[in-house]
């Protein structure tokens, strides 16, 4: 039904992924970094569905469900960690959390 070529579909998913990557590299606020990671996860799952449609098998959708579960867990734990960091450092700046640097 859909006659869009598969390259376009994967390209679309790729553009979303790289948008997420740009967002991860540019933003300093940790909430935004986490959000960009979510975008990347989502686009990866999209590629799985594209593949499932392409090969006409349900395995891609199963994989997407697992990705969903993993994303959920990851988000909740990451947010809990961000809460702790915020309470300790009083800021959400990713550059402020640099205590592991080489003191030379």
């Amino acid at each position: 039904m859909l006659t869009v070529s598969i390259e376009t579909q994967i390209l679309f998913a790729g553009i979303l992924f790289f948008l997420g990557l740009i967002g991860l590299l540019v933003r300093r606020n940790m909430i935004f970094m986490l959000m960009s990671i979510e975008i990347m996860f989502n686009s990866a799952g999209l590629v799985f569905i594209i593949a499932a449609t392409h090969w006409k098998q349900p395995d891609g959708q199963v994989m997407f469900i697992f990705i969903l579960a993993v994303t959920a867990v990851e988000v909740s734990i990451a947010l809990a960690l961000i809460l702790q960091v915020y309470h300790h450092f009083k800021t959400l700046d990713a550059d402020a959390v640099n205590k592991l640097k080489d003191h030379n």
Binding site: L21, L24, R28, A94, D95, V97, L100, K101, D102, N104
Partner: protein, 625 residues
């Protein structure tokens, strides 16, 4: 019998191992017991061996035992083998017996020191090396013991290593004796090159067969061995290390720098006497060096005000007497004086150690005084020791030994009136400085109060040594007094008898003269330092006194000639090409470190950026293929 001889050097090494490996875990009592007990056991063994030796005289003159093979390559074949004859027996007796008394004393002396077990480990290693030295069958093994005692001397002088001056004194001792040792090993090389063996008896036999008297090789070898002896025994010109070596603890000074190590040179010359008989030039040089040294050291001792330095210069002077005796061919007299000197010099050093310890490390005799009433035992034993040193006539052992040397200095074949004159002036000086020491330290009013009374561990060895300093001389009485020749009969089994050119009736005259000189010296010391101290004032502030005190300027001479140029050279050479290489490598590593540490700045986004760049690079690379 031979197994006991093999055990004699082995036991101190065993106890050294035990103390070195486990010393810090042992209690002080146990460590002291092991340290002193091992030497006591060795003394007992020496006693047993001596009885056996006496019984088997005069048929068997020496015992040999080979332990194992040391080197066997080409034509060099050296074994670890010991041989005991009369000369070694006398030396062993002194080393073990006096060593045992000093060890017992050290248990009390070092009881408050933190390096207690380390001290006994070093002392046992020293006794082991010294026993190897005197019992060695071949000259290479003797050199091993020679180096061993040099090492232990270094370790023990710098025992209190936290004080840098002690380390400097230890290094000075080691380096100066090293100069002598190098000459000695070259002499050993020449001997091996010519005779193909290192066994001492064989060497002496072959030397007397092949080398003519006065041949250049004999003179060269004898001179080289003499240099080795000069270094170890602190004679001219290598005598500058001994006064500085007083930085070590007093038992060390007593054992090493009075009784045993400094007499290793005497042993070497006595052992290789055949070689020296083949080079009469060198032998007269020994006598002259001995005479000069005893005079120079005697004058220097008169001007010192550190108690131990007086005794150090006195040691140099007395060994000068032994060298004088060796130089004129009076072998048994030299060994006799060595034995008696060991007794009273060890006694003096141990007594000085007690005095210094009790007065809270006060070394200056002008700050002492009045100790006669406060420490009677120490005073009486010290007095006996000084009397023996000054050769007080008839009652002290020192009189008999020194008198014998003086007589042979004149009457022996190669003796002369000049040598006797030097000896007699030296005797006057000896009496002067030793009683100066007594009067200033023990009489007068107390300028420093003693902190405590010494315990039995420290005083009993003093008493034993004092008794020996009095009666030890009775084994060898001259013909005019008792005509007992037990000692020389023993030693003459190994060493040749001295050849005398003057008559025996002249001997009484010389004995009277030496007795008078000794008493005169004591009287002068009494006048100047006890009755009227003001008489010594003009002398003690004069320039010549300063000159004597600095050891006749030898230290300054060596510093200017040798030490300062080398130091200047090495300062200039501090940053040469090879240093650049090493420093360059280190700087390179540091530069890389500082560069790379920029990449670890703890910032999360930095790391993410490096991820992204890496992925981009890798993907581009893979796609371009």
């Amino acid at each position: 019998m031979t197994t006991i001889i093999a055990l004699i050097p082995a036991i101190p090494f065993l106890s050294f191992l035990i103390l070195a490996l486990f010393g810090h875990k042992l209690t002080r009592k146990l460590a002291g017991f092991i340290g002193a007990g091992s030497i006591g056991m060795v003394a007992l063994f020496t006693f047993i061996v001596a009885i056996g030796f006496f019984k088997s005289l005069p048929e068997v003159k020496s015992y040999s035992v080979t332990i194992w093979e040391w080197i066997n390559t080409g034509n060099l074949k050296v074994d670890i083998s010991f041989s005991l004859d009369a000369l070694s027996l006398v030396f062993c007796f002194v080393i073990t017996f006096v060593g045992f008394l000093i060890h017992v004393y050290s248990i009390g002396f070092m009881s408050k020191d933190e390096g207690f077990s380390r001290f006994f480990a070093y002392m046992n290693l020293f006794i082991g090396s010294m026993l190897v030295l005197v019992l060695a069958d071949n000259i290479l093994l003797m050199y091993l013991g020679w180096e061993g005692v040099g090492l232990c001397s270094y370790l023990l002088i710098g025992f209190w290593y936290k004080e840098p001056a002690n380390g400097y004194a230890a290094r000075k001792a080691f380096i100066i004796t090293r100069i002598g040792d190098t000459a000695m090993i070259i002499g050993i090389f020449i001997l091996f090159l010519n005779f193909g063996t290192v066994n001492i008896n064989e060497l002496m036999q072959q030397a007397s067969g092949k080398w003519a008297s006065g041949s250049s090789l004999a003179v060269l070898t004898a001179a080289l061995l003499l240099c080795g002896a000069l270094g170890k025994s602190a004679q001219l010109p290598l005598q500058t290390w001994l006064p500085d070596a007083m930085a070590g603890p007093s038992p060390v000074s007593a054992l090493i720098h009075a009784a045993t190590m400094v007499t290793a040179g005497v042993y070497l010359i006595a052992r290789t006497h055949v070689l020296f008989s083949l080079a009469p030039v060198v032998q007269s040089a020994i006598a002259i060096i001995g005479a000069l040294t005893l005079l120079i050291a005697g004058f220097s001792a008169l001007a010192q005000h550190d108690l131990k330095r007086i005794l150090a210069y006195s040691t140099i002077s007395q060994i000068g007497y032994m060298f004088l005796a060796l130089g004129v061919g009076a072998w048994s007299a030299a060994v006799f004086h060595f034995m008696i000197h060991a007794f009273f010099k060890a006694l003096l050093f141990l007594g000085a150690g007690i005095v210094i310890l009790v007065l809270n490390e006060e070394h200056d005799i002008f700050k002492m005084g009045g100790l006669r009433k406060k420490m009677p035992v120490v005073f009486i034993t010290f007095l006996i020791g000084s009397a023996s040193l000054s050769a007080l006539p008839l009652i002290t052992a020192g009189f008999y030994s020194k008198d014998e040397i003086l007589w042979y200095a004149y009457s022996s074949q190669s003796g002369s009136i000049l040598l006797w004159l030097a000896g007699i002036v030296g005797a006057l000086l000896t009496a002067l400085y030793s009683f100066r020491m007594i009067f200033i330290t023990f009489y007068g009013e107390a300028k420093t109060e003693p902190a405590f009374n010494p315990g039995k561990l420290m005083t009993v060895p003093l008493i034993v040594l004092a008794v020996l300093s009095l009666v030890g001389g009775y084994v060898e009485l001259p013909a005019s007094i008792g005509n007992i020749h037990l000692f020389s009969n023993l030693v003459d089994n190994t060493l040749p008898v001295v050849v005398v050119k003057a008559g025996e009736n002249q001997e009484i005259l010389f004995q009277l003269l030496s007795a008078i000189i000794a008493l005169t010296g004591i009287y002068i010391a009494y006048l100047i330092y006890f009755k009227k101290p003001s008489l010594s004032e003009p002398f003690s502030h004069s320039r010549i006194n300063k000159y004597f005190e600095k050891g006749w300027g030898f230290d300054k001479l060596y510093n200017t000639l040798f030490v300062n140029p080398v130091v200047w050279l090495s300062v200039i050479d501090k940053n040469d090409f090879f240093d650049w290489w090493n420093i360059g490598i280190a700087r390179l590593a540091l530069m890389f470190n500082s560069l790379l540490s920029y990449a670890q700045n703890g910032k999360l986004r930095w790391y993410l950026m490096s991820f992204a760049i890496g992925i981009a690079l890798i993907l581009t690379y893979m796609l371009s293929k």
